[in-house]
Symmetry: C2
Subunit: 416 residues, 2 copies
């Protein structure tokens, strides 16, 4: 990879080669971050080149991605999700320049496709024919889908509590699913053991430093879609920390290349019932494990494996932390649906819920340019959507008769 | 609309103005088709113009759409879904040039967004602030989503049997949902009465001739994505007939403009348990009502309201009809998932199931260029996906122990 210099440990700062999919620091075991040769990339990745590029997917940013030359790229169209300027929702929130990035429109319906596409491409290039991870959710389904499209097999380890809907998507994508009798820690351990023993490609995001490089493409797109002007704020939900770290990395890359001339502030949103990253920021102390009490399952991570990277990102950006209740998450789901026509899953809309709270607290100016990333499709979790919809009052239930319909409209005060 | 001449009745051939959202023939009550001024459009819609156009949505084809000048266009990004060349699936089916068009990646996760976007834009321009339709499925959710994004309200009439998952999406999009005690006919009737009484914009696709104009954009995209070469065959599932009619119209438009130099043959796929359109073709007789016995609910239409348009399209294209069982549909769901990484709903993959059958019967040559359109996302109907996944054998269920894992791999003959 001519564009990659190597990797650096975010804990001890030790530099190392990134060539052999080294996943953790050889000195201290810390998490690595990929280091690019910006000088080399600067001559290749220009606004003009991008303006002429018709590859509307994450691969338009190949110069900024850790992909070996000559790799066969993912067959699915990952990335270049729409960025909507939404006046109605802006008005509801009291923001004049609000944008929604709908990442639920990725091939397997979540932002995680951005990371899994990188994993599948790197695995194939490395001569692996099996990729593996432990996950109950979007990481798993995106890995299974992206692997299938490239002709790779996938082995997915899930804890016993994994909902049947999510298992189903995995099975349809042809994954071998191993349901582990135990909790997430047990599941993760068995997956790590099997990966080591069989030499499979490891897509456990917190360990594999290449994956947040995929996630950063969401920021590259936001900046390009805004005409190479970074927004003032980006609101995003935080679970294991890998996504917010990727978001920050994307903007930093563009800044280093001179493609944007300022950096946004991050709004880190966690669930009240599970907010170890935000608590660490707020109390200026190390991350301590927490219970996982929230319906937003994709961000219910009590022991964030990429917590350090997340803390660094939030602090460097002089970001804001905010925690939201499940009710606030459900309200955000309704707000996005009926003002912007965007249907997100609970974890996917938590960022929006947090943004609403931040505006109410007057923590950001009304005329700021703000992007709220919706990270997953609402169809992924219909049970939670039903809870959100329940608050609305439900359908009108009548016999087929105009008189009855008129009565109901009157009774409910519905203007027609 | 400078590009639209008027409308013509597909039954009696009477010409009429299309200006005032006239929905049926004034002479015989037949269904109308929009007539374009190809001479005018020819000078505007060229390959060069499209090559330079960065509007990657249905609006890149505005010259071929019935949209009033100066209309505010849909806020959602509808269309320009990916067209995947899938070698693995082609091999499984015995086709050398197989493409999958994944229309489940539209904003509300189905092809119907293409029609609903037109409806919402036309409604807004006509000064309406309420749009309405009767539907249990994708037409309804796409209308509710596209209306919400444009600041319009939506009133959706659903029959009592409508599944809660689909109702939920409607409520999240802020629709007023009227659940009618009765069957689909009762529901449709009440919706028609209410629409007439209140003057709402009518999105009942079979009646509103503008909607298949939206659906035709899927063909405009297929042709452009193939470099302005029409495929030899397009396989698509058929319910009320509006979609296959739209598919055909798109190719005919391009042919009339000289942008493609041949027309594809259509492969019309229906469910064995509900195939009134295909039966009419096969027996060369008028469409007769049928029971609705299939799990592919989006194409379970016993009385196709756009049957005449569908028959015309299949006959004009010298097309092929094929009916598939529910088991064949579920098998297609697995095949698409594990060879192409595409997850479709039952009605969405029925086209693929039919294509498989047509190849097995040697009805099309192996080297033909074939496009199979997947019309809706598998997440829309997890219950059916579970049935499909059930056939796979389910997950391996073990305690977190490497020895047990190895045993299971051996027992099941899984190579690692």
């Amino acid at each position: 990879m001519k564009n990659v210099i190597g990797a650096v440990c975010i804990k001890c700062g030790a530099e190392q080669t990134a060539a052999n999919d080294t996943y953790t620091c050889k000195k201290c075991g810390g998490i690595l971050e990929i280091v690019y040769d910006y000088h080399y990339i600067k001559s290749r990745l220009t606004r003009e080149k991008l303006a002429a590029d018709k590859e509307y997917s994450i691969w338009r940013y190949l110069d900024l991605l850790p992909i070996e030359e000559g790799s066969k790229l993912s067959a699915l169209r990952v990335g270049w999700s729409p960025l909507y300027k939404t006046e109605a929702m802006g008005k509801a929130l009291g923001l004049k320049n609000l944008y929604i990035k709908d990442d639920g429109l990725n091939p397997t319906s979540s932002l995680k496709d951005r990371a899994s596409a990188i994993a599948a491409v790197r695995a194939l290039h490395a001569g692996k024919n099996i990729v593996a991870c432990s996950s109950t959710g979007n990481a798993a389904s995106s890995l299974a889908g992206n692997a299938a499209a490239l002709g790779l097999r996938s082995f997915i380890f899930v804890p016993e509590r994994a909902p049947i809907g999510k298992l189903t998507q995995l099975l349809i994508f042809g994954a071998t699913v191993i349901k582990v009798k135990g909790n997430y820690e047990d599941t993760f351990r068995l997956s790590a053991e099997a990966i080591a023993q069989y030499g499979w490609y490891n897509r456990n995001a917190a360990i594999n430093p290449y994956l947040s490089e995929g996630k950063k493409t969401v920021s590259l797109e936001i900046a390009e879609q805004l005409g190479f002007i970074a927004p003032d704020y980006v609101a995003i939900s935080v679970g294991d920390g890998c996504t917010i770290a990727g978001v920050w990395k994307g903007f930093k890359d563009l800044y280093a290349l001179g493609l944007i001339d300022k950096l946004p502030k991050l709004i880190s949103v966690q669930a009240e019932g599970c907010c170890p990253v935000n608590r660490a920021i707020e109390t200026n102390s190390p991350i301590e494990p927490m219970e996982e009490n929230t319906l937003a399952d994709s961000i219910a991570v009590g022991v964030p494996r990429n917590g350090d990277k997340a803390l660094m990102a939030i602090r460097e950006s002089k970001g804001i932390t905010v925690n939201v209740s499940d009710d606030e998450i459900l309200a955000a789901m309704r707000l996005l649906g009926n003002t912007a026509g965007v249907f997100g899953e609970p974890a996917g809309v938590a960022g929006t819920a947090g943004l609403k709270k931040v505006v109410e607290k007057n923590l950001i100016p009304q005329d700021a340019t703000v992007v709220s990333v919706v990270t997953g499709n609402g169809l992924k979790d219909i049970t939670s959507a039903q809870k959100a919809a329940g608050e609305i009052g439900g359908p009108i239930h009548i016999a087929p008769d105009m008189g009855l319909l008129e009565d109901e409209f009157r009774k409910r005060g519905i203007e027609v």
